[in-house]
């Protein structure tokens, strides 16, 4: 059941604005919340996630950092351990390789290693995804890499409403949360976008639960499970095919912990499964969802599953090459038609 309130007259925001509004509202009520990262200050975040925050909260609560990701993510952990609630931005997920130790050996594990005595209430947000020719080092999704590591919650909203609600949930969560925003859902003025990147967002504070998928489009013939920007494509396809094929779109919203029940219930209903994932295909999210079915009951499937995922290749620069590899609407539609026919 979709939680998006699309009643007429509702205020519409871009996802970027929804995120920064969520952060701002939490900052107003909780002085322990602060923001740290590269270009999060006057610039407002390269992808707009902190727009306006510097003007309201100033340099003491919105900290531009040196290009020292291990340094400032580690500093976020230290502050969190002392009870603050840092929201730290890693500009692109692709940069995780310079700071992953802080993320997965420290942020993710301190609570467990301490036998529950130390909490690390921190949000680490980062941009993901491609489609605009930014090449092999600036276009990845990599959510499975984080979801594979125990101790991390990983969220990736597909629309402004969920983005704000998940950000507020993430800030309030006593655990580290990886908040991944696909550049393509941010509604940036300088990037081609799906209209779904701008949508109704309540003014007040609200939460979207971490760990709960949404049925973004109900259907009975085939289940399409996806996350983040690809959900927008799936919805476009579902709407296009409506009347012909009844497509159920599951928007995971949270990747870890994975809402297996919602996926299983949908597949039990439809008997057919397409997984759409902009992250690399192998050893990733699509595999985990397939395994979820296979270890509960492969007989739920009336046909083999289909994966429309990023092939196991580095991301090429030229548009024609990149779009060959991306999970586009055409490929999603073809996979659905193939499966249902």
């Amino acid at each position: 059941m979709t939680v998006i309130d699309a009643s007429p007259g509702t205020r519409r925001l871009t996802t970027a604005k929804a995120i920064s509004e969520g952060i701002a509202q939490e900052m107003r009520t909780n002085s322990e919340v602060f923001v740290m990262g590269e270009d999060v200050g006057p610039y407002g975040g390269i992808f707009g996630s902190t727009t306006g925050l510097f003007d309201e909260f100033g340099a003491t609560r919105i900290l531009d950092t040196p290009i020292s990701e291990t340094g400032f993510i580690g500093a976020g952990i230290g502050a969190a351990v002392e009870g603050m609630r840092p929201v730290v931005e890693l500009m692109f997920v692709d940069f995780f390789g310079v700071c992953m130790d802080q993320i997965y050996n420290h942020m993710a594990k301190i609570h467990y290693e301490s036998g529950g005595n130390v909490k690390v209430p921190m949000v680490l947000m980062m941009a993901t995804g491609g489609g605009y020719s930014d090449g092999a080092q600036h276009s990845q999704c990599l959510w499975a890499t984080f979801a594979h590591m125990p101790g991390l919650k990983v969220v990736a909203p597909s629309n402004p409403h969920d983005a704000k609600g998940l950000m507020i949930s993430a800030i309030r969560d006593d655990n580290p949360v990886i908040f991944m925003f696909h550049k393509g859902v941010m509604g940036l003025p300088w990037m081609a976008k799906n209209p779904r990147s701008i949508g109704p967002v309540p003014e007040e504070e609200y939460t979207v639960p971490i760990g709960k998928a949404a049925i973004a489009h109900e259907g009975t013939d085939v289940t399409v499970v996806s996350v983040s920007l690809s959900v927008q494509h799936c919805l476009d396809v579902a709407e296009k095919l409506a009347g012909d094929i009844s497509v159920e779109v599951v928007d995971l919203r949270t990747i870890a912990p994975l809402d297996r029940d919602t996926v299983l219930a949908s597949v039990a209903k439809t008997g057919r499964l397409v997984i759409v994932d902009e992250d690399y295909k192998s050893f990733g999210m699509s595999g985990e969802i397939a395994a979820t079915i296979a270890e509960v009951d492969p007989m739920l499937l009336r046909a083999p599953i289909k994966r429309v995922a990023y092939p196991d290749i580095p991301i090429p620069y030229a548009r024609v090459l990149e779009y060959e590899a991306l999970p586009t609407r055409d490929k999603i539609e073809a996979a659905i038609r193939d499966l249902v026919s």
């Binding site: 610039y43 290009i67 020292s68 030229a318």
Partner: protein
């Protein structure tokens, strides 16, 4: 002393690079209408141009041979051109064509020319250790080639900077580390990111010589790099140079630069090319007509490269699956 022919050659190279960056800028924006759309047009994606930083590339690379290596950062064109990377193949790469250096797979931040031992990376400071390894290979093979790692002043706060410097110093490898200080790391000014006013002071942390070169002056840069290259070639180990330069344009194309305030006008006024031109005119090394000719030649070469790129075939979609493994 730099001889007169070389001075004119410096000028010529700087003009050539600027003509290149201007043309790329023009074509980058040409088809991104009505407003900037990063993914649209013949040149999509991020685009980091180096207008103002020509003296660094030219003064540096005048000291290098083809067999010397250079690793460049995300802002690589000036360095690639000065290092002798083929302009056509590089332009074709930026346009994503099969005739490009990487057959359209790399793009502007990933230019690889093994013949010129040129490479770059979009990840801050991560080219520095790679240069150390190239120098290691050179020294193991007993050649006198050197490796140069170029990074911005923002990069000097990355861990990779520290590890690369220590390793090169420890193993006395022929590496020249060049910090291009253009005062900015995207929107973050140097003085809010870097705890020392002079990154050359960081050389002391590795027991290697360090020098900061002010003035964005191609000749001073050439001389300082020459000392470092001579030292490296003769087994004297690495050097850290910080070169103060200027970023005349945005961090990337499309950057509105609201954060720069008055400094932007100053930066634009600090254009090193007219300044150098005036010097050479004053020294009677250049006439108006020679200047015009140099510009015309540069423009011709650049436009030919762009025409070559545009006329080159786009990759076949199936090429995406090639070259994952050798």
């Amino acid at each position: 002393m730099v001889d007169n022919n070389q001075r004119v050659e410096f000028y010529r190279q700087m003009v050539r690079i600027r003509a290149y960056e201007e043309a790329i800028r023009r074509d980058y924006h040409a088809d991104k209408t009505p407003a900037w759309d990063i993914g649209a047009g013949l040149i999509p994606g991020e685009m980091h141009l180096a207008a103002g930083q020509e003296p660094v590339a030219v003064g540096l690379c005048a000291n290098l041979r083809d067999d010397d290596a250079l690793t460049a950062p995300h802002r690589p064109h000036h360095l690639a051109l000065a290092k002798g990377v083929d302009m056509k193949a590089m332009t074709a790469e930026i346009f994503g064509r099969t005739t490009g250096l990487g057959k359209g797979k790399g793009g502007h931040m990933h230019l690889f020319d093994p013949d010129k031992h040129f490479s770059c990376s979009g990840i801050i400071a991560e080219g520095m250790p790679v240069a150390v390894g190239q120098a290691l290979a050179f020294s193991r093979r007993g050649t006198d080639s050197v490796a140069v790692a170029v990074a911005g002043e923002g990069a000097a706060n990355q861990g990779a900077f520290h590890e690369a410097l220590n390793l090169a110093a420890m193993w006395k490898l022929p590496v020249i580390f060049i910090i291009e200080d253009n005062d900015w790391a995207i929107s973050v000014p140097r003085d809010t990111s870097t705890s020392v006013a002079n990154n050359a002071d960081r050389a002391a942390a590795y027991g290697v010589p360090g020098e900061r070169i002010e003035g964005n002056d191609v000749e001073a840069i050439y001389q300082a790099v020459k000392r470092a290259v001579d030292r490296a070639r003769s087994g004297g180990g690495p050097t850290l140079l910080e070169i103060h330069t200027v970023r005349m344009w945005g961090h990337f194309e499309g950057d509105a630069q609201a954060y720069r305030g008055d400094e932007l006008a100053e930066a634009e006024a600090a254009d090193p090319i007219p300044a150098y031109e005036a010097k050479l005119i004053a020294d009677d090394l250049l006439s108006e007509s020679e200047i015009a000719q140099i510009l015309a030649d540069a423009t011709e070469e650049v436009e030919a490269a762009i025409a070559f790129a545009k006329a080159s075939p786009e990759p076949d979609p199936s090429d995406a699956y090639q070259h994952v493994f050798a």
